[in-house]
Symmetry: C2
Subunit: 229 residues, 2 copies
């Protein structure tokens, strides 16, 4: 999971809060739009950091790869998420679209300048980073300590929660990523992810009408599993 700039996906009914006073959202709204086809890279490891991106539609996978090809997916960027934050001058990860994707770009040079004038903006960037750090730590807890069943359950529950926050159906959704993506995210193989989905199906916790479509039958029990009970 990446950072979510609280940017209502539905119509904005209230005026910007005090905390929204930096005009960051507004600026992003006018950033240059860029299309990225599925499988294309938004940036790769080692690229100089030129822009900050906000996902408008689509999904990107953020990952690192080891010399021998082993891959760790650090998160997925969904609409509303900011990707590319960091203080180094080169990207430390790859950002690859897994669906046709549109992003808004903001040059970091100008962003940085503005941040020097505008403490509110600086704070928002800080917050976004802090949020991303917290998400990464949650993932670490999951991959480091939990069983396959717990990991996959946690993954599904997290997806449901995200949908809920965004006013979409939390009990039924399409997974935009492949089993390989999920596996590399959770530190499992494709086969184990697949077997675990099957197990959850047999336990009556989920249904899989198609490969990519998940229906959560017993969200409560699934959530309990995700915690480790």
């Amino acid at each position: 999971m990446s950072i979510q700039s609280h940017h209502a996906p539905t119509a904005r009914s209230t005026p910007p809060l005090a905390a929204g006073g930096s005009g960051f959202e507004r600026r992003m709204d006018h950033g240059q739009l860029r299309r990225v086809e599925a499988r294309e890279f938004l940036f790769v490891e080692g690229d100089p950091i030129s822009h900050l991106y906000r996902i408008e539609t689509g999904v990107v996978a953020l990952y690192k790869v080891l010399a021998d090809g082993r891959r760790q997916v650090m998160g997925f960027g969904y609409p509303g998420d900011l990707v590319g934050l960091g203080a180094e001058d080169e990207h430390a990860m790859n950002a690859q679209a897994i669906k046709p994707t549109r992003v808004r770009c903001l040059a970091v040079a100008s962003l940085r300048q503005s941040a020097e004038r505008d403490p509110m903006l600086a704070f928002k960037l800080y917050q976004a980073l802090a949020h991303e750090l917290a998400a990464t730590r949650d993932l670490m807890m999951t991959t480091g300590q939990r069983s396959a069943l717990e990991r996959v359950s946690a993954f599904l529950i997290a997806f449901a929660k995200r949908n809920e926050r965004n006013g979409q159906d939390p009990s039924q959704f399409d997974l935009p990523m492949t089993r390989a993506d999920i596996g590399d995210f959770l530190g499992l193989t494709i086969e184990t992810v697949s077997r675990t989905f099957t197990k959850l199906k047999l336990l009556g916790l989920i249904e899989l009408p198609q490969y990519s479509h998940v229906r959560l039958i017993d969200r409560k029990r699934l959530g309990a599993l995700a915690q480790g009970s």
Copy 2:
């Protein structure tokens, strides 16, 4: 590994750089000193965030625990490291001293006020957070994708590098943490950590004159192992 505020442990020979102009180090230098005994907590999960800490001497372990007691150590705070950064108002982790420790404290309220006046300071905090995020991602790569042998090698190499950066001996050192701490950091059991040390010994890559003292015999080969060769 936590963030390292670049704070020369040896005598400072050069005047502060442009980047050091915020006076952050200077302020920290005058922060209130607090002693924390081994096994005492600097803060625990759920505590309101009141201060930012810089480790002066000693070591703290930063970790989260699951309901059933499984523990994930997210990093260790060594002298010079900043701990307690974040944008939430409650701590999401525990910080427990594993050696008698002294820290300097800075109230976040005042820090935040200053950051609003001083973009340089704000940027430093941002940088520190970004650094911590990068370290956490490295750890994720390690726990998610590497074998026990690779994890332990990577851990030792990282420790050596830190020592090197700080002008201490990179080929020989005392590990301040227990096997349990290392295990919970790397996502391994105590027994596996112990067996892996033994294996590295048999491979002629390290020596263990005492439980806590490690001598790296073949740092190059150890490094290669850490990468996964």
